[in-house]
């Protein structure tokens, strides 16, 4: 049982994911839970990009002396573009549900909402 060695970027991404999940588990305010979810998403995106990084290479825009051998992996970048947009879509959707809940129950606390619903 030794803690595996991972790089700085992996560490940063993983910490974001864990901090976000902590927020989702512990917090009771709905907006806070959504903010935490969005932090998790940012962490996952950072993780994907770091998986595609290759030390010492430059961005995959093939002009001015940057050939195929000098560029990082472009696929994760394309994936993350998609994931970012999906993330903001989910956030917007979730916030409008939260607004509806607030209009119905007058609170954003999940415990309170449960109690009001019975």
């Amino acid at each position: 049982m030794s803690v595996p060695h991972i790089g700085l970027y992996y560490f940063g991404a993983l910490s974001l994911v864990l901090v976000g999940i902590y927020g989702v588990l512990v917090k009771k305010n709905l907006l806070k839970i959504l903010i935490s979810l969005s932090i998790v998403e940012t962490g996952v995106n950072l993780l994907l990009i770091s998986v595609g990084y290759i030390t010492g290479r430059s961005a995959p825009i093939l002009s001015e002396g940057i050939g195929p051998k000098q560029a990082v992996d472009p696929i994760p970048q394309a994936l993350v573009l998609t994931a970012i947009v999906i993330g903001v879509a989910t956030t917007a959707m979730a916030l409008s549900v939260a607004i509806t809940l607030y209009e119905k129950y007058g609170t954003l606390n999940i415990e309170e909402i449960r109690r009001l619903r019975g």
């Binding site: 595996p4 995959p60 002009s63 879509a89 959707m93 409008s96």
Partner: protein, 238 residues
């Protein structure tokens, strides 16, 4: 007391998850060349799609199906937000007008931000950026207007049909590809007609990438400003 218990329980769970994930990540070391399909893209992107920016070529051309789905997700979000916050009569309820600086500045900046957004999505195949940041920039322009003026609203009659039309345009470009090149989302402009092969690396190249990015930019801009509008207008009670 309970709170402390809860927090420590959550932290223990997280440490287990984190350890588990780190175990997995250790098997994928950072910074190494593990490209397989990626190498193919980098080697063939210029010849096969006419784009210089490999990420754009992947997003629009090689993995265009994903992007179609992504546009759909944003469309769903704008539709869903519209459906949930739908009221028979809606109006802006902001009370404080923006300061003079904000109002004048936003009026001055508005056309320039629009132009910048357009620039970003038209040049997507050459420089970083593309339809999504471009569209988001356009939405930011409208966001600034919303913040500066208490009664500003986007032209709904124009925006909602535009949103639908841009989406239909994307699918239609794909269907034309199906008719011409017998594959859905086939890049007929580049691969059948060879337009723009002479000026690789300039604006008029890249096959259908600029066309699709323009459609995406329009769609993303209208959708995101539609979401902002749905969130900022509230029900009027008579």
């Amino acid at each position: 007391m309970v709170s402390v218990l809860k927090r420590s329980l959550a932290i223990i769970t997280l440490l287990i998850i984190g350890y588990w994930l780190a175990q997995g990540l250790a098997g994928v070391p950072f910074g190494q060349d593990r490209m397989l399909v990626g190498k193919y893209y980098l080697e063939n992107v210029k010849a096969q799609t006419g784009a210089v920016n490999a990420v754009t070529a992947i997003v629009v051309n090689y993995r265009g199906f994903d992007t179609l789905g992504e546009v759909t997700v944003l469309f769903i979000a704008s539709t869903g937000v519209g459906a949930l916050l739908w009221r028979r009569k809606k109006k802006r309820t902001a009370k404080t007008e923006g300061s003079v600086v904000l109002r004048t500045g936003s009026e001055l900046l508005f056309p320039f931000i629009l132009m910048f957004g357009t620039y970003i999505f038209i040049h997507g195949h050459l420089t970083p950026g593309g339809g999504f940041p471009g569209g988001a920039t356009i939405a930011t322009a409208f966001l600034i207007l919303y913040m500066a003026f208490v009664d500003y609203e986007i032209p709904h009659r124009l925006f909602e049909p535009l949103e639908g039309l841009a989406g239909m345009g994307y699918v239609l470009v794909g269907l034309i590809g199906l008719a011409i090149g017998s594959y859905f989302l086939f890049d007929w402009i580049w691969q059948t007609w060879h337009w723009g092969a002479a000026n690789l690396g300039r604006l008029f190249s890249g096959g259908f990438i600029p066309v699709i990015y323009t459609l995406i930019g329009l769609k993303v801009g209208t959708e995101l400003s539609g979401i902002v509008d749905s969130m900022l207008t509230e029900e009027v009670r008579e």
